[in-house]
């Protein structure tokens, strides 16, 4: 049993090692994404700092500081969750683009192990990018974390990561069905989740039909909970109403996403869609 697990971890590591090697070769892109993330996060933070000017009224500096942190929590948490969703969602599209899809699917690696490896590599990348963005932003913008409960925030982010891994796996199967449209659909899903999840604003400003969508988005709970943890120092007990819905999505979406992927793979093999040219 232990040997089997070790063997599967070894196979999964092949994908992590491959992604590291690819990152080195595509190093310019690996720089572009964090820089892009830093610039967009800073832009959002400066909107917060400009609040008195934008509103035309004097605003208490403590309120401005709170607004900046409110916006930064949203933008950085979304960046983290977005990288997970995008990278896992592009697992098939990327291999099709490289032309290696047939060799990956022909190899004796169980699909679960393959996807675990890709998720592992993605989590490493998302964490590294998010830490880099956070560190860079704090150099430019004063961030008041004096009341922050970092442990609560990390737990919420981990739960959010689990939920987005499941959603990413499900969306990764789209390009097996529709070569180009599949990836386009995944991007549309991501954009809608961004809109309804209260990344830059509380969800109660949304029209009621959008608020209904926000209820089913795990990002809504993760981002609201992280704000409570980092702005008001909320502990995990207080945050439980935010943790459990995201946890339920994660616990359900990972096995359902895997199941969907395996079924779609079978369909692709029946219809001849599992090939490099789509």
């Amino acid at each position: 049993m232990t040997t089997q697990v070790g063997g599967q971890l070894g196979l999964a590591y092949a994908f992590v090692e491959r992604e590291i090697a690819l990152s080195k070769r595509y190093w310019a892109w690996e720089l572009v994404w964090p820089v892009y993330g830093i610039v967009t996060s800073l832009s959002v933070a400066y909107i917060g700092l400009a609040l008195p000017t934008i509103s035309g009224t004097a605003i208490d500096p403590a309120v401005v500081s709170r607004t900046v942190l409110y916006l930064l929590v949203g933008t950085i948490a979304w960046r983290f969750l977005g990288i997970i969703f995008e990278n896992i969602g592009e697992v098939i599209a990327w291999e099709r683009w490289e032309g290696t899809i047939e060799y990956t699917f022909m190899s004796p690696v169980p699909r679960f192990t393959h996807l675990i490896g890709m998720c592992g590599a993605t989590l490493v990348r998302a964490t590294a990018f998010s830490i880099a963005i956070l560190a860079a932003v704090t150099l430019f913008v004063p961030v008041d974390l004096s009341r922050a409960n970092v442990l609560s925030a990390v737990v919420l982010l981990a739960v959010g990561a689990l939920a987005f891994v499941g959603l990413g796996i499900a969306s990764a199967s789209f390009p097996l069905l529709w070569t180009e449209k599949g990836l386009q659909m995944a991007y549309i899903v991501q954009a809608v989740v961004l809109l309804v999840s209260g990344v830059y604003y509380p969800v109660d400003v949304l029209p009621s039909w959008m608020q209904a969508l926000s209820v089913i988005s795990p990002a809504t709970y993760v981002i609201e909970g992280m704000r409570m943890a980092l702005l008001d120092g909320a502990d995990l007990l207080t945050l439980w109403p935010k943790v459990w819905p995201a946890l339920v999505v994660g616990v359900l979406s990972v096995p359902l996403g895997l199941r969907l992927f395996v079924e779609v793979e079978r369909y692709a093999k029946r219809t001849g869609r599992l090939k490099r040219s789509g």
Partner: protein, 257 residues
């Protein structure tokens, strides 16, 4: 190995097209079986079914007694394939690609690096270039790396899908010699698809001719010639398909336009 295998595809232009039509063939352990046919005759579809990438509509595919439907992973462990396109991560080097591919078959980097170098040397690849991104290597070099990738995992069944298409004469000969040598040394079983009559005869112990998805003739080159009163394999092809191979290729190309 293949028993009454059939595969059809839906196409908006042609409706339902039968790519492989009730094909049965058996490859003996240790032999090189050449599948000869024009473009669109069903060679690659058959190879894709053998390599678990395509599920047959009817019939069974068994690899050394194991039905793909019963234990796909066990079959995957026994096979490897070389396709017309080299299919690599273009920015990674030949060695990075090979080490990664070997890992997928449970072969660690210490073992795969040494084996890869030995195979690449035999194939005439300049060893000084194995750490360059693959996109910087010529098509011939890339195809040799693809062949090394397949042999690296010591497959019991090797599927070579037009492995020398697009190679210059010298590279073609090197690859053909390597395939023959490795079969003799390692007792590998090889299914080779080609539309090169000369290659089919040079490499194959037995040849099957595919036409419109059907296996229309099978035997050694000598048997086929004797059976059809022909002096060349080209005449056999003409006799069983009603067309010369190059004419059939041109007709297939016209059909896809």
């Amino acid at each position: 190995m293949a028993e009454a295998v059939t595969k059809s595809f839906k196409s908006s232009r042609e409706g339902i097209r039968r790519a492989v039509d009730n094909v049965s063939l058996r490859v003996v352990r240790g032999e090189i079986y050449g599948l000869l046919g024009a473009n669109g005759s069903g060679k690659s579809t058959l190879i894709r079914m053998f390599s678990t990438l395509l599920t047959p509509d009817a019939g069974r595919v068994r690899v050394f007694g194991i039905d793909i439907r019963d234990d796909e992973n066990a079959v995957k462990r026994m096979i490897n394939r070389v396709s017309v396109e080299a299919s690599f991560f273009k920015k990674l080097s030949a060695m990075e690609n090979l080490v990664y591919s070997a890992r997928l078959y449970g072969v660690g980097p210490d073992e795969s690096r040494g084996k890869a170098l030995a195979i690449l040397k035999r194939l005439g690849v300049d060893i000084d270039r194995v750490n360059e991104p693959l996109e910087q290597l010529s098509r011939g070099m890339q195809q040799k790396v693809a062949i090394a990738r397949a042999f690296l995992t010591a497959p019991t069944l090797l599927l070579l899908d037009e492995p020398t298409t697009g190679l210059d004469i010298r590279s073609k000969r090197e690859v053909q010699t390597f395939v023959r040598d490795l079969r003799d040394e390692h007792d590998a079983t090889i299914v080779l698809t080609t539309h090169d009559l000369d290659e089919a005869e040079r490499l194959s112990d037995r040849i099957g001719i595919l036409h419109d998805g059907r296996l229309v003739a099978e035997g050694t080159a000598e048997e086929l010639r004797a059976r059809h009163g022909a002096t060349a394999l080209e005449d056999v092809f003409m006799s069983v398909t009603g067309r010369r191979l190059d004419e059939a290729d041109a007709a297939a190309e016209e059909k896809t336009k």
